[in-house]
Amino acid sequence: MANLVSIGQPAGHVEGPAKVTGRALYTADVTLPGMLWGKCLRSPFPHARLLSIDVSQARQLSGVHAVLTGVELPEVRIGRFLLDIPVLARDRVRFVGEKVVAIAAESPDIAEEALTLIDVQYEELPAVFDPLEALQEHAPRIHEHPDSYTHPPIPEAFLHGGVAEFFPSIPNVVSQVFYRHGDLGAGFAQADRVFEHTFFVPSVHQGYIEPHACVVSIEPSGKINVWLSDKTPFIARSQFAAALGVPEDRIRVNPVSIGGDFGGKGSLMDSVLCYYLAQHSGRPVKMVMTYTEELMAGNPRHAAALTLRTGVTRDGQMTARQAKLVFNCGAYGAFTPLHTVHGGVHAGGPYRVPHIEIACLRVYTNTVPAGHMRAPGAPQTIFAVESHMDMIAHELGLDPLEFRLRNVLAEGDPSPLGEHWQHIRCKETLLAAAQAARWSTEKPPHVGRGLGMYDREPGAFGPSSATLSIDADAKLTLLTGAADTGTGSYTVLQQVVAEELQVPLEAVMIIQGDTDTATFEVGAGGSRFTHTAGLATLTAARELKQALITLAAQRLGCVPEQVQLQAGHFVVADGHSLDLAMLMAWAAEQGAAPLSRTGSYLPTGPVAITCFCAQVAEVEVDPETGQVQLRKLVTAHDVGTVINPLTHQGQIEGGVVQGIGQALTEHLLVQDGAVTTLHLGDYKLPTALDIPELTTVLVETKAGPAPYAGKAVGELSNVAVPAAVANAVFDAVGVRLTELPITAERVYAGLRAQEGRQ
């Protein structure tokens, strides 16, 4: 792979000019003639029967064009995989914030005034908020007939050899998955000591600054135009069509910029309801959630209770692990695009664990429905795994680094679940992090260092495609159906095209098509895009290049095999050559322009490679107050070819700071079932003042499934930070926290308890 021109060069986002001038169009910016505003009345109760709804006064308010209740809508349930959430509550509400009535009016003010005129009578029902309580036989049943809910077949690629079941006969359990490898009993029999610890991770919100929004307009022909803050327009179209029971080609999902995703922008959210408001009012309707609604009723990360039991030999080798991971699904499972919370598969960590059993449960409670967020399930699982590792090391009298080094995966080792990966760089990555953090050097009093590790495979699922065209002016345009959520995915595609056709980046335009004009593309998610869309684009570029070489051969009077593309020129051995502009001008005369090729890629299954990440946090703890200051953070990554160093580093940095938020400040606080951190003053995202000195180390191996041997990076750096910080706090002051976030109050309580013991 010599002479890469665009690949590996830092490149600013291709959509940069639109985003720095305010021209980029986000869903909330869409305004249509005659458009109305939709708003919802939400349940104040976590669990209640709907006795009556009186909307007569709201209907009479001037400027109100539609008022809808659940019973007026078709009895349909929607979702990303499990279809269990109604568009509006019909007879019961199951969480505080569930939508009960929807209104479309000429202004947001009128819609909100109309909401105050609605009278709903509820009969409160017993509720359950804790997933462990919800499992008990006496717990209230949140869904009466969950067996009636439908879902697609569970995809083999996401089973990891596990056995999955929806709605087993355990109260309120949505799904139960067992992943097993080896012989658990034999593994524990080999252990000299067995350790068991339980951890709690509360819910956190994705914290995208753009709340969910949608606009729906129905053309006289019946064509349904949709704009929505959803990172996967084609998947949204499928879900929308299924919800309405119409063919997919009746729906056009239009391109918009996505104002932050982090996994949370992959559901229909209010858009089906918005459709019904548009249908009933005969006008286009826009709905924009307030940030309070986002925090109350978005689709935040699952809270979890995680118990790990691990057998180790006297010399610190792990022999067996049993994990029970209970994820709080909230009132509905609709916002998770799989049967389970996928990150549970990491309960073995990146270590040799020859015998393992992981039980992964999703449990209904009367709380806000949980959804996907950056490496779903992994930060919870890895907080437990990596804290547990340090707790065991402490008991064994081993340095946490040494204990990990005795157990990290090496080339040839099977993963805990029995996968066989190539190019395992676990130890190298761990050592790189330790070295950069000067792990073994002296520390001042109350300063501690902590480690965390995680690995994740590049995503390899779902079809990707893209169409590359060149016109008579030699202008290259790549048409993609994907939305760029801000990760720089368009820029990666631009670099691939520029590389293959040996043109400057600026010569390649990226256009996001609507779902009528673009070809099918799953879109961003699961660390798949650079891999799958990158390969589809690579195919399109290489096929177009071949077509151009064939044209050039015609022009130059030779056979295509004699033509080479060198530095932007088509060259024949005899010295004749022509550049792309000359070729396309000639092609236009011949009626051969524009020219286009579509590339597609469908992965056949998981790739036999993963990406390791090792992190060291250095904290200083105030022994008087328990305040934790994160001084430094080292993040080391095992990477393939880095296609765009600028955006690659941007992914790492953004992820790290999300991890810091989850470690130290973020807590979607739920009291009596209701979220109480209802604005961004109470829900504490990290600010520019909260970031530590960051050192990034890249351990490069030219191996990976993406074009030019690239890997994935988007869902790695956020995951192990909370564990690294918790381990650093223990190292600093001896206080072990098994629950996030690591607040001064909790550390203070730990310090005082310590004094009591002394």
Partner: protein
């Protein structure tokens, strides 16, 4: 209803508006300047930052009637034709944004900083910018973008 007269991005504007009209809605929906974004709606996230007589304000908690007689600058007013403001150029070159939703607010806040303090220290940048939340970048590249402008590394 009340009539307000002001300058928006150097252009005179006269509009009749309801008393409770928020500046963010006035800009976005009355003037169609949708470059200003609304995030938290409570004056915390900074996405709606605009300059009011040169000072950064959260337009989601400012009533439009208050800006009568004032000069408002939004992200749309920054570039001179095709020529970006150095901050706009820097945010592209240094990766100062990802999804872009907070970017107009970040750039407006940064402009106010540099207008008053052309050579801020890193700590001064962090302190000034703490009122503008960004969930994508982790702030490092926002700070680098602003530093690049302060150090004259970006050609306008």
């Amino acid at each position: 209803m009340r009539t307000i007269r002001l300058q928006v991005n150097g252009q005179p504007v006269v509009r009749e508006i309801p008393d409770n009209r928020l500046l963010v809605d006035f800009l976005r929906y009355d003037l169609d300047l949708t470059g200003t974004k609304e995030g938290c709606s409570v004056g915390v996230c900074g996405a709606c930052t605009v300059l009011l007589d040169g000072q950064p304000v959260s337009s989601c908690i400012v009533l439009a009637v208050i800006v009568d007689g004032c000069e408002v600058t939004t992200i749309e007013g920054l570039a001179q034709g095709d020529r970006f403001h150095p901050l706009q150029q820097a945010f592209i070159e240094y990766g100062g944004f990802q999804c872009g939703i907070c970017t107009p607010g970040q750039i407006m806040a940064a402009k106010a900083l540099l207008d008053g303090n052309p050579y801020p220290s890193k700590e001064e940048i962090q302190t000034w910018m703490m009122g503008n939340l960004c969930r994508c970048t982790g702030y490092y590249k926002i700070i680098e973008s602003i530093q690049a402008v302060a150090k004259g590394k970006v050609a306008p």
